[in-house]
């Protein structure tokens, strides 16, 4: 496990070299493709080259069930004419196919020809996910050793753990973005994810739980996150659920545990602040910049700069630098998550949030790592403040209706709070609230800010991107809990 890779291979420079050497994509080719893209009079064009190498190991019943892997590569060409987008892509990086994709995207316009793009110029970006030990260079035997450690730890946690599934997923993505405004950006984007799923069986009662993590890093992830601790956490949740009582139904105070509850921010405010919805005035946050949209205790940021974070990016998929953006400060809405089209509409700089799933997709405003800053209270004070309510600790996901702001999140580990004490675990339960309403009911914020370990994926209009979430312990004075006990 201690071979020393040539780290140069894992950098933006390597991304540029890969496309140049393997596919002969140099400045001249970029210029000529942009020229074709603008040949019918578009206002702007960009090229997004992607080379993605993925592999995964699926482990079940104490055996490697399947080893998977593959490479996808391609080019997406976007041409803008006003607010209209023409988009085409190809997996074939031959010059003829790339030119054809550019010509197809160009058809969004029929104004005749344009003067053509400026030459592209390199810009050096930050390096927020320097990998110490690329997993892709590590032998499968070493990965298997980690997987087996997780499997054993989960089984050893409790005799009721009868099945353990472990997966190790890694990806190395090289991207190159060239724009008709002369920007050229390259990036190397690693991703590692380790997942453990446990089934606890007691008599006829079966409970399943999952835990996992990862981020934009290599095998060094496991130094701070030994596979045993991830496995024990999954096993602990499954065993805890065996004692679960029916969850309450109705409008109750809810204490959100630090970390994963950041899902609430992602759903309650994050999506609603994506600038495309606000440009179209289809979000319940439209026209509300400068207004109080949350309790004064809430400061919410979207931060692409966290080292090695799952949602972290050096540059976004339009070639703009990823950055830290304050969305809500002391409860007041500061601004939106911008991509190029929306930034132009609002007359602001792009905020580095133009992201896409792959070269087959055009970019949209998306979140990176979204979290709430720490407050003053201790977690104990917060729980003690609740007479009867719910303490929500782990989640499987959430969803929001952008237009009316109603959002849900699904609690996989939650407990009753009775007279200021955490008591019984509850069965899986859904919570529903309304973005601005729920955030106005944040009455206490803990000092224990925690970033959830990297395992979240965000879906929008059929496109998935990796994201991060985080939050300190927070009290929401009222939210509708979807249990069965009245």
């Amino acid at each position: 496990m201690h071979n020393s890779p040539t780290l140069d291979e894992y950098s933006a420079a390597a991304a540029r070299r890969l496309f140049r050497q393997r596919y002969a994509i140099d400045e001249q080719v970029l210029g000529s493709l942009l020229e074709v893209a603008l040949s019918r009079g578009g206002d702007y064009a960009d090229l997004y080259f992607e080379h993605r190498s993925s592999s995964s190991i699926a482990f079940e019943e104490q055996k490697v069930k399947t080893a998977s892997g593959g490479i996808t590569q391609g080019l997406g060409v976007r041409v803008l004419s006003g607010d209209s987008t023409g988009y085409a892509y190809t997996e074939d990086l031959s010059l003829a196919s790339m030119r054809q994709a550019a010509a197809t995207a160009a058809r969004i316009c029929d104004r005749g020809s344009n003067p053509g793009p400026a030459g592209v110029v390199d810009g050096a970006g930050p390096d927020r996910y320097r990998v110490e030990q690329p997993s892709i260079e590590v032998s499968s035997a070493d990965k298997l050793a980690l997987i087996r450690r997780a499997d054993e730890a989960a089984r050893a946690y409790d005799p009721s753990i009868i099945r353990v599934n472990v997966s190790f997923v890694e990806e190395v993505k090289h991207v190159l973005v060239a724009t008709s405004e002369g920007r050229l950006a390259a990036d190397y984007q690693p991703m590692l994810r380790f997942n453990v799923q446990c089934l606890s069986e007691v008599g006829n009662s079966r409970q399943m739980a999952v835990d996992g993590g990862g981020g934009r890093l290599g095998m060094e992830y496991f130094i701070d996150h030994p596979p045993e601790s991830i496995a024990r956490e999954a096993a602990r949740q499954a065993v805890t659920l065996q004692r679960g009582v029916d969850a309450p139904a109705g409008y109750l105070p809810v204490v959100l545990g630090a970390g994963e509850s950041g899902i609430l921010l992602h759903e309650a405010v994050g999506h609603g602040l994506e600038a495309d919805f606000n440009r179209k005035k289809t979000s319940n946050y439209s026209d509300r910049v400068g207004q109080q949209v949350a309790s004064e205790l809430c400061t919410v940021v979207d931060d692409a700069t966290i080292g090695h974070g799952r949602g972290t990016i050096n540059v976004d998929d339009e070639g703009n630098a990823g950055q830290e953006n304050v969305l809500i400060r002391d409860g007041v809405l500061q601004g939106y998550l911008q991509d190029r089209i929306s930034a132009k509409h609002f007359g602001v700089a792009p905020s580095g949030n133009g992201r896409r799933e792959s070269f087959r997709h055009y970019p949209m405003p998306r979140m990176t790592n979204t979290y709430m800053l720490a407050g003053q209270s201790t977690p104990d004070e917060i729980i003690h403040a609740v007479k009867r309510g719910l303490y929500a600790k782990a989640f499987s996901g959430g969803q929001v209706n952008i237009s009316n702001g109603d959002f849900v999140f699904s609690v996989t580990e939650g407990y009753l709070i009775e007279d200021g004490q955490v008591t019984h675990p509850v069965k899986n339960v859904n919570l529903i609230g309304n973005g601005p309403d729920t955030l106005s009911k944040v009455t206490m914020v803990g000092h224990d800010f925690t970033l959830s370990d990297g395992r979240w994926t965000c879906g929008k209009d059929g496109q998935s991107v990796p994201v991060g979430v985080g939050i300190p312990t927070v009290l929401v004075s009222g939210i509708t809990v979807g249990g069965t006990q009245q």
Binding site: K63, K65, T66, A67, S68, G69, G70, I71, T72, G74, G82, S84, T85, G86, Y87, A88, Y89, T90, E91, A101, I108, I162, R163, L199, E201, R206, Q207, M208, A249, G250, T282, S283, N284, R360, S396, G397, Q399, V400, N401, I402, S403, N404, G405, F407, V408, F409, S410, V411, K427, N428, N430, I432, N434, G459, T480, V481, G482, G483, T484, Q486
Partner: protein
Amino acid sequence: MSARPPAASSQAPTGFGRAAADELLTVAEDVCRQARTAGATDADVLVGSGTEFSVTIRRDEVENIVEASSRALGLRVIKDGRVSISYSSDFTPAALRQFVADAVERASISDVDEAAGLPDTGEFGSLDAAGLELYDSRLASVDAGQAIELARRCEQAAFAADARITNSGGAGFGRTMGIRALVNSRGFSSWYAGSSASISAEVMADDAEGKKRNDYWYTADRFFDRLESPEHVGRRAAERAVRKIGAKKVPTRAVPVVWDPEVSRTLAGLLAHAASGELLYRRATFLLDLEGQAIASPLLNLVDDATLVSRQGTQPFDGEGLVGRRNDIFRQGQFVQFLLDTYTARKTGRASTHNAARGTGGPPTVGTTNLLLLPGASSPQEIIGSVDDGFYLTELLGFGDNITTGDFSRGAGGLWIEHGQLTFPVAEVNVSGNLKDMIRGLEMVGSDVDYRSATVAPTVKIGQMMVSGL
């Protein structure tokens, strides 16, 4: 994000006929042969080639036109009981040679799995694809101008339908066309072409409290001529949005719940998921040990049917080359059987039900084709009319289901029913229960059938569920 209709799209410059299929089959057969030469005991190769074309407009202006053709190849290698899955989109001979070598090498990472492998020779088969009417070559002739026009008509109809419609999330036309070819080392080699098109719209209204109330509608079919008119789609989207104006929470209590087909489809999908052979051998479904038992209302009939002519989920053969067929999942309330692919069948000592789903990027998994919750005798009006005080559910949010235990808890929206009439709109509530109780409490099943999507379910009524709000 908000729920939206499935995006469909695509363009066929050359069409997907015999010539295109032969080219793909040649590549697939060559890859399969190479894998055997490189040491694979068995192999199968799935090749997909297709085009996508979609147009979205919003407030009469073009937002996006996406047009592309693409192809991909997935290879499964079984080497002495060890399995690997590999995928690529680079079809150049040199790249494929390297790809096959890597794939065979990758299998050595896996452990020997007795249940792994292809179906047995002699099990393979295919329905006559031409007779199933899965591909509409005419779709290719719809150009960007026509697509924009269809989308504009749809959105305009929504605005025209009701003055309270104040904004649009967009309207669109999309199509996909393509070929799927499967070849394996035990002699199976077949293909079929498929197409799908859709027209959709999402619009919104403002209510007095300043909240926006949105909803959508869409039409989808394999054949262009069978799409509903764009005007009809726009009007339905508008009707669904304006009926939400003024939506409010209701007090928490247990009531009868009538499920609109848009959401009863979700119920059908959850039941089919619980009947998946993967959850059976993983002991992770609430249907475990219940085969053959009458566990649901006699009104529950759930079927998976790959053989229906021209429907969205129809397929001549499954992801492993087994002939498409019809399987009962629930018959008159009895849980008949699990859905199985070859692997899960071998793991559980059963026979495959020909339900292997497969994409080029992964291994075969258990999936449904056309999943049908069969219609009953009651009209939707009769069902609503039977409820004195209850909830008409039109929208579900979130993923709060636990298929292992059957616990169901989701965000919900809809309309309240009083004395058999739909009255005021309801939002920001949860609806909860346990799937075992819910299927036992299925009291009425509607006669309404809509084949827009591969999962088809009518209006249904469940006697009692918890609705939590205030």
